[in-house]
């Protein structure tokens, strides 16, 4: 077991996996990674299950220090400059860090959320089957809140291996975000639905893991903006009283009392998550069957990631390298290497 310590972390830096299911009936939301494809890429690089817990890092700079043992990690998702002791760390590649090394991440230059995954995984006790932090519910593991400087995470020790590994991020669509209309599209006139689909919406600065607020024309409800509270899916496009769409995301409440005009398809949620504040998005309505075909294709893509991993360089491990990366530890004779 090795230890990584948080030296600096902006808001929205927290441990996330694919979320918590089974207690939404009691009001406990799913939380989970905002971009599960990028989470999967980081995890697969370090031989973890695609949905394992990793550190989700928001758009601002962050720094981590290895305080015990050696750690192999991978960074994927939102693009940002990363260095280890001044050396550049490419995204989508594993790297071995030695005790004392500091990983410095700059602000995202493209995207919003990056994922840092560790060989051997993050150590903790899942709560309702998940490590995902939902800060307002005071739940998550190993910390039940966003990460703060001084926090220490136990992570699996790095395995001895000859080569680091790389994985090219699959290309993603760049067009309109696809939605399935409903469940309360009948609370809006057809012209209002057309207006929703024709508008270029700007992501508001008041967006966060709970939801992305949109700026644009106010959409009119046919009648009252209130409905009897019902369940809310990830990606729900809720139209509150002021008419400005609120895209409800990972940290959403489980139920709500405003009509939901549409729901963003699950395969496009990660792409939405990576759209920065101030950028413009558009929507396109598709049939639920088409959305489900996209969901299955997305799941197949995630399942295929391990086969796309490639060795970088290769070659033998030198003892100098092992010592430098602290893998040799306290080995004093050849016998220490036999199990």
């Amino acid at each position: 077991m090795s230890v990584i310590e948080v030296v600096e972390a902006g808001p929205y830096t927290s441990v996330q996996d694919t979320g918590r299911y089974g207690a939404q009936r009691y009001g406990l939301g799913t939380a989970g990674a905002m971009d599960t494809l990028s989470l999967a890429i980081a995890n697969v690089l370090v031989s973890q299950p695609a949905g394992a817990a990793a550190i989700e890092i928001g758009p601002l700079p962050a720094r981590f220090r290895i305080t015990d043992g050696a750690v192999r990690l991978a960074l994927a998702g939102g693009v940002r400059g990363a260095t280890v002791q001044g050396r550049a760390l490419p995204m989508g590649e594993t790297v071995l860090l030695a005790e004392g090394d500091v990983l410095a991440l700059r602000a995202c230059s493209q995207g919003v959320f990056s994922y840092l995954a560790f060989e051997g995984g993050i150590d903790g006790e899942p709560v309702f089957g998940s490590f995902s932090v939902h800060a307002r519910s005071g739940i998550g593991s190993p910390y039940s809140r966003a990460l703060l400087p001084g926090d220490r995470l136990n992570v699996g020790g790095a395995a001895v291996r000859g080569a680091e590994r790389s994985l090219a991020a699959p290309t993603r669509g760049s067009g309109a975000l696809r939605v399935v209309l409903g469940p309360q599209d009948d609370h809006f006139e057809p012209e209002t639905i057309a207006q929703f689909l024709d508008t270029e919406w700007k992501i508001s600065a008041t967006s966060d893991r709970m939801g992305y607020r949109l700026e644009g024309p106010a959409l009119r409800h046919k009648g009252s903006p209130n409905i009897l509270s019902d369940g809310i899916a990830n990606g729900s496009v809720q139209i509150p009283g002021n008419g400005l769409p609120l895209l409800l995301l990972a940290d959403r409440g489980t139920t709500g009392g405003y009509p939901k005009l549409a729901t963003i398809i699950s395969a496009d949620l990660g792409r939405l998550a990576q759209v920065p504040v101030g950028s413009v998005i558009r929507f396109q309505a598709i049939a639920v069957e088409e959305a489900q075909a996209e969901a299955r294709a997305h799941a197949a893509l995630i399942s295929s990631l391990p086969r796309a991993v490639r060795d970088v360089g290769g070659g033998d491990l030198s003892s100098e390298f092992l010592l430098a990366s602290n893998l040799a530890g306290a080995a004093t004779s050849a016998d220490d290497w036999s199990i």
Binding site: G27, S137, G231
Partner: protein, 242 residues
């Protein structure tokens, strides 16, 4: 006038749907939702991940890799159209509440609007027996029906950005138990030291939709003592023998 035919199913994207049995706050309708929920749970249908029962609808989260929208919708409509298991009347709970003053800062407003004294508002609120229609929004938030009509009061025009943990409030014809610090548009009339959600406790949740709830007033000193017990992991809310 709502001319929609119920039950009906609507997609909530590609991984969830909602089946609506009606469009009103009604105990019989809500009991039917809970019966449908029990039938879905008992069927252990491949692909169904979890459900959220609400006033008049059941939200069903599912894996589109295992079941498609149309077959799941057809199965649910078939289930909802048939005989459903009786879910019974649920369990009964009594919650301690400290009404008014710093514990319920909207009590003077509620009293003024209802034309009742603050003591009478508290007496009537505590005297009611309420049905848990649903839980949602935040962990442990409990939507209760059965409020004395004299206490009904539409939501605040300007929602509060924060309200304390344990808040007991009135919103329209409903009253609610809120566990966590949260924004709210409802009127705050008191607080309970009981925690309807506590991730540190072995029983993280103890209420279920369909349970019934009543309240009993306690003074501020008792509140403090009960709060310490709740902090130590006790439920503090009392089960009522059937």
């Amino acid at each position: 006038m709502d001319r929609t035919d119920y039950p009906r199913v609507r997609p909530c994207g590609d991984c969830a749907l909602t089946i609506e049995l009606g469009n009103e706050i009604d105990a019989t309708r809500n009991a039917r939702v809970l019966s449908l929920d029990a039938a879905v749970a008992a069927a252990r249908k491949a692909g169904v991940i979890e459900t959220i029962p609400t006033y008049r609808s059941l939200f069903v989260a599912y894996d589109p890799g295992l079941i498609g929208y149309a077959p799941l919708a057809a199965w649910l409509l078939d289930l909802a159209g048939g005989a459903l298991p009786e879910t019974g009347s649920g369990r009964s709970w009594r919650f301690p509440v400290t009404y008014g003053g710093a514990f319920g800062e909207d009590m003077p407003f509620v009293a003024q609007k209802s034309g009742l004294s603050e003591a009478e508002v508290a007496r009537r609120h505590a005297g009611g027996t309420y049905r848990i229609y649903m839980m949602g929004f935040m962990p442990g938030f409990t939507y209760l029906g059965g409020l004395d009509p004299a206490l009904a009061l539409s939501r605040r025009d300007n929602p509060r950005l924060t309200s304390p943990a344990g808040t007991i409030s009135i919103g329209g014809v409903q009253t609610g138990i809120q566990c966590l610090v949260s924004p709210t548009g409802w009127h705050l009339i008191g607080r309970t030291p009981a925690r309807t959600y506590d991730p540190q406790r072995s029983r993280v949740f103890f209420l279920e939709p369909g349970d019934s709830v009543s309240f009993f007033p306690v003074g501020p000193e008792d509140f403090a003592a009960l709060e310490r017990r709740a902090e130590a992991g006790e439920l503090v809310a009392e089960p009522v023998a059937p």
